[in-house]
Amino acid sequence: MTAPKRWLPFTVKTVLLVLLLLWTLVPIVWMVLSSFKPNSVITANTPRIFFTPTLEHYASLFSGGNSLWPYLMNSLSIAGVSTLIAVVLGCMAGFGLSRIRLKGKKHLAFWIISTRMAPIAAVIVPMYLLFRYLYLLDTYAGLIVAYLSFNLPFAIWLMTAFFDDLPPDLEEAAMIDGATKFQAFRYVVLPLMTPGLVTTAILCFIFAWNDYAFAQTFSGPSTQTIPIAAAQLLTQTGIDWGKLLAIGTVVVCPMAIAGLLVKRWMVQGLTLGAVK
């Protein structure tokens, strides 16, 4: 693997790479940087790199009449519970699906994958009607169900792919040694599944945390999530950019860190197990 490394002339490679890095990072860096600028600097006609940093926007997020706390709590609880349910049920189903020999398994798999791929706009319409009928609008339960509609099939599918990678010999050996099926699962299989479980959980959480369309349609005054807080500020006349950029930074940073932590398994996760 030494020779093929030198594919491109050094200069071309460097220039292209710098361009791609700039394209990717400039908006993010500019957002984080600007969130520490006073509003007068943010809205100045010429962009400024040097300024006296201020924490006023972050301070304003968590104080005053329209604090971000309730939004943050809503986001954490709704995304957290839907992730927990998806991962627990998805793990059980994934183990079962991976080990079972079933005639219609192909159709079952197709059904699961197509529910994951269903366009959100198309799912929202009937769900809105059902939620209205069942009084689930503006409730945690409603949004949790909405997020499960894509996170549950995702978790089942992904855990199946992770279990497929684990040869059944291990749990069979344990069972020959006298372990029950549950013991073999709990003490032999599950510990080996930690990367799979963590990856699935983090991805489910990110999908739910980042959702806007469902929250916009199904949430009400008591269940609005952080993306809704950002959207509300964005549609006001006279946008408070400082506050908005601070919210952006708060929404983005934890997810970027969490995502990069499981980078090693991310390919498998985001391609639904198609690439190892």
């Binding site: 093929p4 980042n210 990069l260």
Partner: protein, 280 residues
């Protein structure tokens, strides 16, 4: 062990599925309580004659081809460059991946911030260099390009990540032999590298194809379909029909056509998986 998950999944997907089909044959009204009035094929007939729907599908097609196409090209370029790095590749790919963890609402927010006509950094750079002066998100043409580029910015990294995983399987000895025979980089790329990652490229393409029609939050938050409907892709149109005009029956019919599209993509994905199992 599978029963609880499959039961719950059936509950939360099949009920909406049959509801949307039933809704598409009804005139659904929310005024003064929920009422259904059977209207036969009215919604469907309208769907195939509505010029607004046709233009939205057309814009969707342009949006779809441009985003997915650019994401494939830029993502593959990113992967090739990172793969060719002797050291530091891990850090570079980590940095390149960040956009895909960002909530689409925040991507839209960033787009509006960078392109703001009075103080946006990119808007400033474009007007100072004389390339574009004016309200980028407020003008027909430039608005569509802008929302396309925002989507590309967020999702090209995913293609990069997938392709990078595939590049590990490019046969090193064949590359080496080609190099000794004096092959140019472009030749190696066209005849060795790309053919050996064609399967992976297909995975990336399908994954992006299904998500390109799933999400619409970036446009929602930046232009909401405007100006003059120039960025009104089909999910945005559907949302308008459903929640601005409250014509839920008609929205259901539009939704079903979108579902058909995603089922076709899912079908292609399954076929590709099967093919991969055979070759593996």
């Amino acid at each position: 062990m599978m029963a609880p998950a499959l039961f719950l999944l059936a509950l939360i997907t099949l009920i909406p599925f049959f509801s949307i089909i039933w809704m598409s044959f009804n005139d659904v009204s929310l005024m003064g309580g929920l009422t259904f009035e059977f209207s036969g094929l009215d919604n469907w007939q309208r769907l195939f004659t509505d010029p607004d729907i046709r233009s939205s599908w057309l814009i969707s097609l342009v949006y779809f081809l441009a985003t997915v196409g650019l994401e494939m090209i830029i993502g593959t370029a990113m992967a090739l460059l990172v793969f060719s790095l002797v050291r530091g590749g891990n850090i570079v790919i980590s940095l390149l991946l960040i956009p895909m963890f960002i909530a689409p609402v925040i991507v839209g927010l960033l787009g509006r911030f960078m392109l703001d006509p009075s103080h946006g950094l990119y808007a400033w750079m474009l007007s100072e260099s004389g390339l574009f002066d004016g309200n980028i998100l407020g003008s027909v043409g430039s608005a569509l390009i802008a929302v396309i580029l925002m989507d590309v910015w967020e999702w090209a990294p995913l293609v990069a990540l997938i392709v990078l995983a595939g590049l590990a399987s490019v046969p090193g000895d064949i590359l080496e032999a080609a190099e000794m025979d004096g092959a140019k980089y472009v030749q190696k790329l066209l005849y060795i590298i790309l053919p050996s990652i064609s399967n992976i490229l297909l995975v990336a393409l399908l994954i992006r194809a299904m998500d390109a029609i799933r999400f619409f939050a970036i446009i929602f938050i930046t232009t909401n379909g405007g100006p003059a409907d120039s960025t009104k892709i089909i999910p945005i149109r559907l949302y308008d029909i459903a929640f601005r005009f409250f014509d839920l029956g008609y929205a259901a019919a539009v939704g079903i056509t979108m579902l058909v599209f995603s089922i076709l993509v899912a079908n292609a994905f399954m076929k590709m998986l099967k093919r991969q199992e055979k070759t593996a």
